[in-house]
């Protein structure tokens, strides 16, 4: 298979074109994290900020606390688009056409995945821009920015493969649009919006060991220029586990027989 790259590039072009033709979905996925950002900073931020911030606590403090979570939510929202667009594709005849052509099979999936990655990076950039516009001031140095970008892209890539599998597993397009909901809620059951030590014991145990907690820890530390301990490594480890698992699962689901 010497054409994996060529075919994948062709499929990426196809998917980017489809995103441009169907902008309402991109818009929908983009608007959710921004609404959460504004909601949490302006509605809850005063009170929550006072709770976490100690002497300097307040809305500005909470903006710093919650922005990394909202950037993560930009990823979890955008990857729902991956599930939906793959499920849409699978219900149309064109995938069966691809299956009967002598092309690199995986390119059908990589087309979606790379296309979604572009979409997700744009979404993260947009959300970050809004956060800066309302007063977020990151303190990261050059190396920290690089680490940040690497970690965000790794998590986006991992969750996209995972969502690709979810999209392939769902029988209908409607089903695929609900399947991502747990991913959206997961940051709430972690350190996304409030520190875990304010939670009851069982929930706190879950919150401390779920994958998004070290990820958000690492993002906060890198953005604000504070030490991150080993959370960066743990977060990256989770990215590898989720990404490889999602990739293998997707591949298995895609190679099973067409059932239409």
């Amino acid at each position: 298979m010497t054409y994996v790259l060529t075919d994948s590039a062709t499929m990426v072009r196809r998917n980017l074109k489809r995103m441009i033709r169907y902008p309402s979905m991109t818009f929908q996925l983009l608007i959710m994290p921004v609404v959460f950002l504004l909601l949490f900073v302006y509605v809850f931020g005063g009170t929550l900020g006072a709770g976490i911030g100690g002497p300097t606590g307040g809305r500005a403090e909470y903006l710093n606390y919650v922005t990394p979570t909202i950037i993560l939510m930009a990823i979890t929202a955008a990857v729902q688009g991956t599930s939906i667009s793959i499920a849409m594709d699978m219900t149309e005849g064109i995938v069966d056409r691809f299956r009967t052509m002598a092309i690199a099979r995986v390119s059908v999936l990589t087309g979606h995945v790379i296309g979604s990655l572009v979409q997700t990076v744009l979404a993260m950039t947009f959300v970050f821009g809004v956060a800066v516009a309302i007063g977020f001031r990151p303190q990261a140095n050059f190396v920290e920015w690089l680490a940040l970008a690497g970690l965000l892209i790794a998590m986006a890539f991992a969750l996209i493969w995972f969502s690709a599998a979810l999209g392939l597993a769902s029988k209908t397009v409607e089903g695929s649009s609900n399947i991502g909901l747990p991913l959206i809620l997961l940051p709430f059951f972690g350190n996304g919006f409030v520190p875990t030590d304010s939670m009851p014991a069982a929930l706190r145990w879950f919150a401390e060991y779920q994958p998004f907690t070290p990820f958000i820890d690492a993002l906060r530390g890198l953005l604000m220029g504070t030490p991150i301990g080993n959370s960066g490594y743990i977060a990256f480890g989770w990215c590898v586990v989720i990404g490889v698992g999602g990739y293998l699962w997707s591949k298995k689901l895609f190679n099973r027989e067409s059932t239409r």
Partner: protein
């Protein structure tokens, strides 16, 4: 040389055995039609031959390559236009064709030329830059088939290509299929329309309940069931009377000067009839043979033997 051979193909979905041992051969450069009602197993057959699914047992080869052992070589030689349209609705007709050209690695210049030729050939030039979602059923099928042809396949599978089309679009599709055959492409066509098989196919196999129940040319199939007859026309009532005395089982054809004689339409039985008339010097003005049409054949062949 066979473009397609299948031996003992079986396939079940769960407990439901869809194909129960199918054998067939399709000669290169011909149109082969698999005729059958809904649920007979036609689409399953196409899916196996086009490498979409595997047979449970039996073997098949397409364009000289085994479908199970060398699916990629098969894929490189075939084109498939399925029952459901396989076009990208968010893209224009031209973009859909361009996508196929890219996936066949045709290169920019060759690909562009091919796309424009196909748009021309399939009468899609005016709609080339409109989104495929706005196309009519007939246009969508044409685009679908044009996409199949980008890779210049040797064997084309057409799974019910005219289902759901209006009569005019159906005729246009037939015309396109005939032109493909003229180019030397082998066509495997499934249809539930007898008329379509009659119009297009060199050979027809009737698939019923997962088995081939008859195979042959349209004429051979029609001769296989009884009910054919010869109509003898006379220009003099006396000749008619004379013939009626000579030929057994003949019946008058109303007020016309014609006699209807049961006959299977084969050369030998026709010769026997003519010899008989000749022997008694009965002048016949004209003669025509009438075989039952494919509808009769189809119903006779696929009649349910047992009723629960």
């Amino acid at each position: 040389m066979n473009a397609i051979t299948a031996t003992g193909l079986r396939r079940s979905y769960g407990d439901n055995e869809v194909l129960k041992g199918v054998d067939l051969n399709v000669q290169r450069g011909t149109v082969f039609s698999l005729l059958g009602a809904n649920g007979a197993g036609k689409t399953t057959m196409v899916k196996i031959l086009s490498t979409l699914i595997r047979a449970d047992s039996g073997s098949a080869s397409v364009a000289g390559h085994d479908v199970a052992r060398d699916p990629n070589a098969v894929r490189a030689a075939i084109g498939v236009t399925g029952q459901f349209s396989a076009v990208d609705n968010l893209m224009t007709g031209r973009e859909n064709l361009k996508l196929m050209a890219d996936l066949h690695h045709l290169g920019r210049a060759v690909g562009k030329l091919k796309v424009e030729q196909l748009l021309e050939k399939f009468d899609l030039v005016d709609a080339a830059d409109k989104s495929a979602s706005t196309y009519s059923g007939g246009m969508r099928r044409r685009l679908d088939l044009a996409m199949t042809l980008v890779g210049t396949p040797q064997v084309i599978f057409l799974d019910e290509p005219t289902t759901g089309l209006d009569p005019r679009s159906r005729r246009a599709m037939w015309e396109i299929v005939r032109r493909l055959v003229a180019d030397g492409i082998t066509i495997f066509l499934t249809t539930q329309y007898l008329e379509e098989a009659d119009e297009l196919a060199d050979r027809i196999a009737v698939l019923d309940n997962g088995k081939i129940v008859a195979e042959g040319t349209a004429d051979e199939l029609k001769r296989r069931i009884h009910g054919g007859h010869v109509l003898l026309q006379f220009n003099d009532p006396r000749h008619l009377e004379a013939a009626a005395r000579v030929v057994h089982n003949a019946s008058r054809d109303g007020e016309a000067l014609a006699l209807r004689v049961p006959n299977d339409g084969s050369v030998s039985s026709l010769k026997a009839l003519l010899d008989q008339l000749d022997e008694h010097s009965v002048p016949v003005d004209s003669l025509s043979t009438h075989t039952p049409d494919l509808d009769d054949v189809f119903l006779a062949l696929t009649e349910k033997v047992t009723q629960p």
